[in-house]
């Protein structure tokens, strides 16, 4: 596994910059049917339709240009392969950044998502002035909502008609986590 600067390493994962050469791996998991609608890609890139290699290269290029955000590859320590991506974004206001995590279905149920989210939160709360971090999740994605709650987030509400999925409107669920709540979780975890 390549070395990465603090704080982007855990026992089970490491986060590193995405390289153009990662495009084929990303294309493979982004096009997995189980990730349709939950890819967390830049505006204008389909969240559902199959993506070409060129389109995925374009996504990586776009992410690399971000000034007030990073999107990093999640490497599974055991095998060293790219298992997903995690994004932290504070473009609107560093006081209230947002995070998202995408793990390939082939690498799920191994705690990689929680480890990646943990690193992203640690970065935001320890390396930036973040006060409240939010996550935005489609209401049909119950698994992700449960994941956010397990990791300390509370539901802040639902914006109706975030889109159409399975022939029906769905809501965008907003969840938030305050700095003091995150600190408390760290203390509880340590004791």
């Amino acid at each position: 596994m390549p070395t990465t600067p603090f704080p982007f390493v855990r026992e089970t994962i490491a986060l590193r910059a995405l390289e153009p050469g990662d495009a084929p791996l990303l294309q493979r998991y982004l096009n997995h049917p189980a990730l349709a609608g939950r890819r967390y890609l830049p505006d204008g890139v389909s969240d559902v339709a199959p993506l070409s290699l060129r389109q995925v290269e374009g996504v990586i290029e776009q992410w690399q240009k971000d000034r007030d955000a990073w999107t990093l590859a999640v490497l599974e320590a055991a095998c060293g392969t790219v298992a997903g991506h995690v994004r932290a974004e504070w473009e609107w206001d560093p006081h209230t950044p947002s995070v998202s995590v995408v793990i390939s279905p082939d690498h799920q149920r191994r705690g990689l998502g929680s480890a990646a989210l943990d690193l992203a939160l640690r970065f935001l709360f320890e390396e930036t002035p973040a006060h409240a971090v939010s996550m935005w999740i489609a209401s049909w994605n119950e698994e992700a909502v449960a994941f956010a709650r397990r990791n300390g987030f509370s539901e802040a509400g639902r914006s109706p008609r975030g889109g159409v999925h399975g022939g029906r409107f769905y809501s965008q669920i907003a969840l938030d986590l305050l700095r003091r709540e995150w600190r408390e979780r760290q203390v509880n975890r340590a004791t």
Partner: protein, 190 residues
């Protein structure tokens, strides 16, 4: 043809409006953002932004100047952004202090909503504000918006922490409030 309400017309932006728009951005009470902007915007900066606007049929946002019909004076700005076609958009409104409490803001909001629901065929309209702006929340409530998201302590402004608030108005609720209009848009299941 401008959009016409009872008290106001909403028309396209002109170069001559840029002085007022700079003044509104430089007033902390009217700049209408969830984070403060430095009050040093100049008319020239606004003119540059205005002159950089390009023609397009592929629009997802628009800005309208609010003109009070009785006086012919420009009263502020109302806009929508982030339109997801046939689905939703976010609106914003800025009204100059002399027009506060005159009904101009409500009429401009209603005039824009009619365009968004009856012409663009949106299924939901929302807006972002915060708990430090009770007048903005009240104005939205008058048009039928309800709070759907409250992000705790997400705004620091006016020297304090406030909750960021998203308020939403569904298409069917809009038409229920406007029996003079008929909704002929096909339905999508909830």
């Amino acid at each position: 043809m401008p959009l016409e309400g009872t008290l106001v017309v909403l028309r396209e932006e002109h170069r001559e409006d840029q002085k007022l728009l700079a003044a509104l951005r430089n007033d902390l009470a009217t700049q209408a953002w969830g984070r403060a902007l430095p009050p040093d915007y100049t008319e020239e900066m606004h003119v540059k932004r205005f002159e950089s606007l390009e023609f397009s049929y592929d629009r997802t946002s628009a800005r309208f100047i609010i003109v009070e019909k009785a006086s012919g004076e420009t009263a502020g700005l109302v806009s929508y952004t982030g339109e997801q076609r046939r689905l939703s958009a976010s609106i914003g409104i800025i009204v100059a202090r002399p027009f506060w409490g005159t009904g101009v803001a409500y009429d401009a909001q209603e005039t824009l909503l009619r365009f968004l629901f009856d012409e663009l065929g949106l299924r939901e309209v929302h807006l972002w504000t915060h708990t430090g702006l009770p007048k903005a929340i009240g104005l939205a409530e008058r048009s039928g918006f309800g709070v759907c998201i409250r992000l705790r302590e997400a705004v620091f402004k006016f020297g304090g922490l406030f909750d960021s608030v998203v308020m939403s108005l569904l298409r069917e609720d809009y038409y229920a409030r406007h029996p003079e209009l008929t909704d002929r848009m096909p339905r999508v299941e909830e």
